[in-house]
């Protein structure tokens, strides 16, 4: 067996309050494309950051090319032959392609930069990968895909033995991905070891040789890709060892389907999600299931108008309505708790009370402030009902735990009495107690006639509270499964893994 070009073992890395990596081992052989898989928070990014010297591991050894190494920083990693291309290209878009390839190490002649050589050698390097570009054009004038390829060319010319590609395909279209894969295969023939991170299963199976799976900071295993079915891979990533799945709650929730609230007809957005047909009813909980990047959040954002759809239309009753801005959606009774609580949801400097009344106040307009007494009543009521802790309305919301922040966000929308409540990962990263409280709340809200769209990466949770499950995959709604009591996480996984067959 060939000697690994990069081998790490026993790697641990902790941050205050969380163990990001726990005794992880990983090896990369020359001339292979190796997938690193895992759900959000599995430790992929941390592992990559350890390999590139951004983070220093608390424990463990790194062996590069047979010699033990301690990687001190990104530059040091590069000198050891480890180059990284990130999702966001970190080159200079205002410089030319050739300048970007040689920046910081320009060939010199008589002490001055030899621009001729820069251009000639850039063209040669690109030609080796079958890329025919105008090397004098500004990098920013090329598509993101080409920019990514230029970043790869630059990385490889730094004598890279190991090339780390961190989600390079997330913003590329099909043709561009194919081009990237051609380049990756060519590099593999040259003996470069490539570590490939992607959320698209399809792509992993298309281009990779082996796969390492992480979950919750621990190593799950390393497998030749041919010996692992998609279904097994998804199960390993999500940790839903099927036999060990806990028993579901006593009964699946009764469907008390009310009137139809909204009918989406071919609603989609280029690059985010393919056109979707979906009916949303009062009193019904619709679960959106799919891996990260499958388009579940994107669909939710379209319904709320957080992003404007560029195709399709929405009916409310028989009337065509516009949900193209949050304001328009709010006026129609839609509410949305975004996935990124901190970035898109709460105003961290404001108090619990201010955050809770914000949506209602925005709807009333600035001239009609909620009176002191009314504020206290409303906020007090929801602090009690949702058991927000600490129960002080004037605490800055940044001092609350994740679960309580989520409850504040929920309270903000509940006081507006919405018809349709969209929850994107409302229980992620919060403790089990708050989690069950939120689940129970959702079920009872639906029981009172509210329509709910519920997004979660945890399938048991989706099953526990949803009446029907929409399965998404590769930015496409694949199928709808009724939660009739016979639906199992296993079947949803199967659908996620084999979605292409159902299409």
């Amino acid at each position: 067996m060939t000697r690994p070009v990069l081998e790490v073992s026993g790697i641990s890395k902790g941050f205050p309050g969380v163990q990001a990596l726990d005794d992880v081992a990983f090896r990369l052989l020359p001339g292979e494309i190796h997938a690193l898989m895992g759900e959000n928070g599995a430790g992929k990014s941390t592992l990559i950051k350890v390999l590139t010297g951004v983070h220093e591991a608390d424990a463990g050894t790194v062996v590069v090319g047979g010699a033990k190494a301690s990687i001190k920083g990104p530059l040091h990693a590069q000198r050891l032959g480890i180059s990284t291309v990130y999702q966001e290209v970190n080159l200079c878009p205002n410089l030319s392609v050739a300048e970007n390839i040689f920046i910081g190490r320009e060939p010199r002649r008589f002490g001055r930069i030899d621009w001729k050589a820069v251009r000639r050698r850039s063209a040669e390097l690109l030609a080796r990968l079958d890329l025919d570009l105008d090397v004098t054009a500004q990098l920013g004038s090329h598509s993101l895909a080409v920019q990514q390829l230029v970043a790869i060319v630059r990385a490889v010319d730094l004598e890279a033995k190991v090339l780390i590609l961190d989600e390079p395909t997330s913003s590329l279209d099909r043709g561009e991905v194919a081009r990237l894969f051609t380049v990756m295969r060519r590099l593999r023939e040259d003996g470069v070891a490539i570590l490939f991170v992607s959320h698209f299963l399809e792509q992993i199976y298309e281009v990779c040789d082996r796969v390492t799976v992480l979950r919750g900071g621990r190593l799950v295993g390393e497998y030749p890709i041919g010996e692992l079915s998609r279904f097994e891979l998804v199960a390993k990533m999500t940790g839903q060892e099927l036999a060990a799945l806990e028993e579901l709650d006593e009964e699946s929730p009764e469907a008390v389907r009310g009137e139809r609230l909204f009918a989406l007809e071919g609603v989609g957005r280029t690059g985010a999600i393919a056109p979707v047909d979906l009916d949303l009813y009062a009193g019904e909980v619709v679960g959106l299931a799919g891996l990260l990047g499958s388009g579940r959040s994107e669909l939710a954002r379209l319904v709320f108008g957080a992003d404007a759809a560029d195709s399709g239309r929405v009916r409310c009753g028989d009337e065509l309505v516009s949900l193209r801005t949050p304001r328009a959606a709010i006026e129609r009774g839609v509410a949305f708790c975004p996935e990124d609580r901190k970035g898109d949801g709460l105003v961290m400097d404001l108090t619990v009370e201010e955050n809770i009344i914000l949506a209602l106040q925005a709807a009333r307009g600035w001239t009609r402030p909620l009176g002191q007494k009314r504020r206290q009543e409303l906020v007090g009521e929801y602090i009690r009902a949702l058991r927000i802790h600490p129960p002080h309305p004037h605490t800055p919301v940044k001092n609350l735990s994740g679960g309580n922040q989520q409850k504040v966000l929920l309270a903000r929308w509940l006081i507006t009495r919405p018809k349709l409540l969209i929850l994107d990962e409302p229980t992620r990263g919060i403790d089990i107690g708050a989690k069950t409280e939120i689940q129970r709340l959702v079920v009872s809200l639906a029981g009172e006639g509210m329509g709910v769209v519920f997004i979660s990466a945890e399938l048991e949770e989706v099953l526990r509270i949803s009446h029907k499950v929409e399965v998404l995959r590769d930015r496409r709604l694949v199928t709808e499964l009724a939660n009739d009591g016979t639906l199992t996480p296993e079947r949803i996984l199967q659908t996620i893994a084999n979605g292409a067959a159902d299409r």
């Binding site: 709010i330 990124d340 105003v347 400097d349 949506a359 009333r364 307009g365 609350l400």
Partner: protein, 342 residues
């Protein structure tokens, strides 16, 4: 946490402390510094002078606070001061009454604010650049109005705004007090303050709760223009002249400084109007101190800079933590932060 600790955390604690220290320093140099006396029915004294000379700065800084709360900044207030004064004097010198001159000057200031607001919201230009345009162009406009000369006027009614007395107090102090009261009412008795703080604190979250942030931001710049316009009237009325070149020169920097000294962060969000007033008073008192303490003119800038540095350091949580003997425990990251690092 004990009471003293809670007190030192109050936004107003350090600005007020510094101001009081400055006043006490003045008493040390001039024993009768704080005394007030009545002469010809008017109240006189160093404190009154500080308020009187500081009135335009307080006004401009009030407007600046609101703009900074939205996460913006307005560099053009000095130019607006010049334009407003120039317009008023030009019209009065041309034989028009105050009834024409004042509304035109105020209306022009509002228009200038509207221009800034539209550049920031509609065209998405960064506030510092958007208002830089008017900062430079505005001086030119003011000089066009005055014809490059200093216009002088002779109008007792106009003199009232910046140099007159009413109920024994300088009229401009009353005007500033009224402006502060109205601003406090508008921001704290309506929902305007909350919505401004939400927009400045997290623009995306504000969009997602349905706040019309563009409208609010335009309103903030118009308010800032209005304040600068009134300040311009005060300054030109006090000397009964309009100088397109010198009026309000560098007042934007003092105003921004006043806002920061008062405890409002330049990043936007939470704002403290009363803090801003104290900040402006610190700056004005500093000016006075330099004269009473007999600090040589060549030292004045260095001296002001030193005091400003001290106030900024006192306000900085990082600095206060360093000064304390025991370094505080590292903040425990919230769940979201942990996710981000995982």
């Amino acid at each position: 946490m004990n009471r003293a600790a809670a007190l030192t955390r109050h936004t107003l604690f350090w600005p007020v402390t510094v101001w009081v220290v400055l006043l006490l320093a003045n008493v040390a140099f001039t024993p009768g510094f704080l005394s007030l006396r009545i002469r010809e029915g008017h109240l006189y004294g160093s404190l009154i002078d500080i308020l009187l000379f500081g009135a335009p700065l307080i006004l401009v800084a009030l407007g600046m606070t609101v703009v900074i709360a939205t996460g913006g900044i307005d560099l053009s207030v000095g130019a607006t001061v010049a334009i407003s004064g120039a317009l008023a004097c030009h019209l009065i010198a041309g034989g028009h009454g105050l009834i024409v001159a004042l509304p035109v000057a105020i209306g022009a200031s509002l228009l200038l604010g509207l221009w800034n607001g539209l550049l920031v919201t509609r065209l998405g230009i960064q506030p510092i650049i958007a208002t830089l345009i008017l900062m430079v162009a505005g001086r030119g406009i003011a000089q066009l109005i005055t014809g490059g000369q200093i216009i002088t006027v002779d109008s007792d009614a106009y003199k009232m705004i910046g140099g007159g007395y009413w109920l024994g107090l300088p009229f401009s102090i009353l005007l500033v007090a009224a402006a502060l009261a109205v601003t406090l009412l508008l921001t704290r008795r309506t929902a305007l303050g909350l919505l401004l703080e939400a927009v400045g604190g997290n623009a995306e979250a504000s969009r997602l709760v349905g706040i019309r942030s563009s409208g609010l931001i335009v309103l903030a710049y118009m308010f800032c223009g209005l304040c600068a316009g009134i300040a311009g009237l005060m300054i030109s009325s006090n000397t009964l002249s309009a100088d397109g070149n010198q009026a309000g020169l560098w007042i934007e920097l003092d105003a921004i400084l006043a806002v920061v000294l008062g405890g409002t962060a330049l990043t936007g969000g939470r704002f403290a109007l009363s803090g801003t007033v104290v900040g402006a008073l610190i700056i004005q008192t500093l000016d006075t101190t330099i004269y009473t303490a007999g600090i040589p003119p060549r030292m004045t800038l260095v001296f002001s800079a030193a005091v400003v540095t001290v106030v900024c350091l006192l306000q900085s949580p990082a600095f206060r933590a360093k000064v304390r003997r025991r370094p505080p425990a590292a903040p425990v990251p919230s769940a979201a932060e942990q996710e981000a690092t995982a």
